[in-house]
């Protein structure tokens, strides 16, 4: 960055000296922005990465590189959270679930319903609507077992709606408190 600036200054003065052009003819150096935080699906980094080092690393890597770097760690974490994990309501074993979650992107439909989960299996992971109870969905997939009936005390936090009503029209989110 410093080198580029220096070069620009040198070029700028050369132009002035050679042709008396205004120095603002020199194009400004391109400004770059570096990734600092990342998010696709809710709560993935916070649940599945344990160490501060992993949490920070997960935020500055692109999704296409996440699976190779984090799937095994996610699987270990899943089995630590729920040692009795076999499969879940989506019939995913531990490897399948953590392979899906380790690449942290949110799938969204551009043609149909958009919801994290609304009870209709066909709509699963087709977006995230404001009112979706995403925490219960994730708790169910982690703790609920193949039928969703396992660990009943851990699959529903009993906070199932927001504390304000959403708007039907843009910008959709409720006014602040």
């Amino acid at each position: 960055m410093k080198t580029i600036k220096l070069l620009a200054i040198v070029l700028g003065s050369t132009i002035i000296a050679a042709s008396c052009k205004k120095s603002d003819d020199t194009p400004a150096p391109t400004v770059y922005y570096q990734q600092q935080d990342q998010m696709g699906r809710p709560a993935i980094n916070t649940v599945f990465n344990v160490s501060a080092t992993d949490k920070d690393a997960f935020n500055v890597i692109t999704p296409s590189n996440m699976g190779a770097a984090f799937q095994a760690k996610f699987q270990a974490r899943l089995l630590a959270l729920n040692p009795g994990y076999t499969t879940n309501a989506l019939t995913q074993n531990a490897t399948q679930l953590t392979t899906l979650l380790a690449t942290d992107v949110l799938g969204a439909s551009t043609t149909g319903t958009t919801t994290f989960f609304d009870g209709n299996p066909a709509n699963t992971l087709s977006g995230r609507a404001l009112a979706d109870d995403v925490i219960n969905v994730e708790l169910l997939l982690i703790f609920g077992g193949p039928t969703g009936a396992s660990n009943p005390g851990l699959t529903n936090d009993n906070v199932n709606v927001n504390d304000k009503t959403f708007l039907a029209a843009f910008p959709y989110l409720a006014s602040p408190w």
Binding site: T30, V31, Y32, Y33, Q34, Q35, Q36, D37, Q38, M39, G40, P42, A43, I44, N45, T46, V47, V50, A52, K55, D56, F58, N59, V60, T62, P63, S64, V105, L106, G107, A108, S109, T110, T111, T113, T114, G127, R128, L130, V134, I135, G153, L154, N156, D157, N158, V159, V161, N162, D163, K164, A168, A169, F170, P171, Y172, L173, A174, P176, W177
Partner: protein, 222 residues
């Protein structure tokens, strides 16, 4: 402010006890971004009121108490970037970049556009397609509309996330074995605000064949 600080302190204490587990959507998820303007709290993607449009929401700077919301600001050195993958390889084919301009106190939108550079480093792509003056705390929403049909809002909103985080932390810490029954459970995020950036985009601009993958990144000027 006190409330936010208290909450953060409480969470930090739990982090020490549980070895680093803080469970929220993406609120204060890592040491490096916590407390910074670029700390993402949530991503939402859903069909708009007009079903021909799709809505993208990026929330940042979570757990704002009402008393500290008016002072919360977007950062002019941070780009909030929606990344859109159209072919399932988790590599962005389009980006929608939202960059706060301090001089005009507005959120400026670039795209949707195919980025010239992909991955962890970006530059602003093309020209501003829509912009909206940031809505002040307590004011009714200012909505900007671009010539391509893109709508934008930026400003404080109620945090739409809900979760009994307090009880979850007790479960993880081993001091509770289950969530609380209805009526006793409480939303840890009730009464708190976030800084929202909401962008509504005509689906025709997304070059999509039915399904897309979306993620947000906050990127800081280098």
């Amino acid at each position: 402010m006190k409330r936010k600080k208290l909450l953060i302190t409480a969470m930090a204490a739990v982090t020490l006890i549980t070895g680093g587990i803080i469970y929220a959507a993406d609120h204060i998820d890592t040491p490096a971004v916590t407390g910074q303007a670029g700390d993402i709290t949530d991503l939402y993607v859903f069909r708009a009121q007009d079903p021909n449009n799709l809505v993208f929401v990026a929330n940042t700077q979570g757990l704002l108490a009402p008393g500290s919301t008016a002072a919360a600001k977007f950062d002019e050195n941070t780009v909030i970037e929606f990344n859109i993958d159209n072919n399932g390889d988790a590599i962005e084919d389009l980006v929608i970049q939202c960059k706060y301009d301090a001089a005009s106190n507005s959120m400026q939108v670039y795209g949707p556009v195919a980025p010239s550079e992909k991955g962890t480093r970006s530059k602003l792509e093309g020209t501003v397609t829509a912009s909206a003056v940031v809505t002040a705390y307590g004011a009714s929403p200012t909505i900007g509309t671009g010539t391509n049909g893109v709508k934008v809002f930026a400003g404080p909103r109620d945090d739409p996330f809900f979760f009994d985080l307090t009880q979850y932390k007790k479960i993880i810490a081993g001091t509770a074995t289950s969530f609380l029954p209805p009526g006793m459970a409480s939303d840890t995020f009730a009464g708190t605000n976030v800084l929202s950036t909401v962008v509504e985009v005509p689906k025709t601009l997304l070059n999509a064949s039915g399904n897309i993958n979306v993620w947000i990144e906050t990127k800081k000027k280098i």
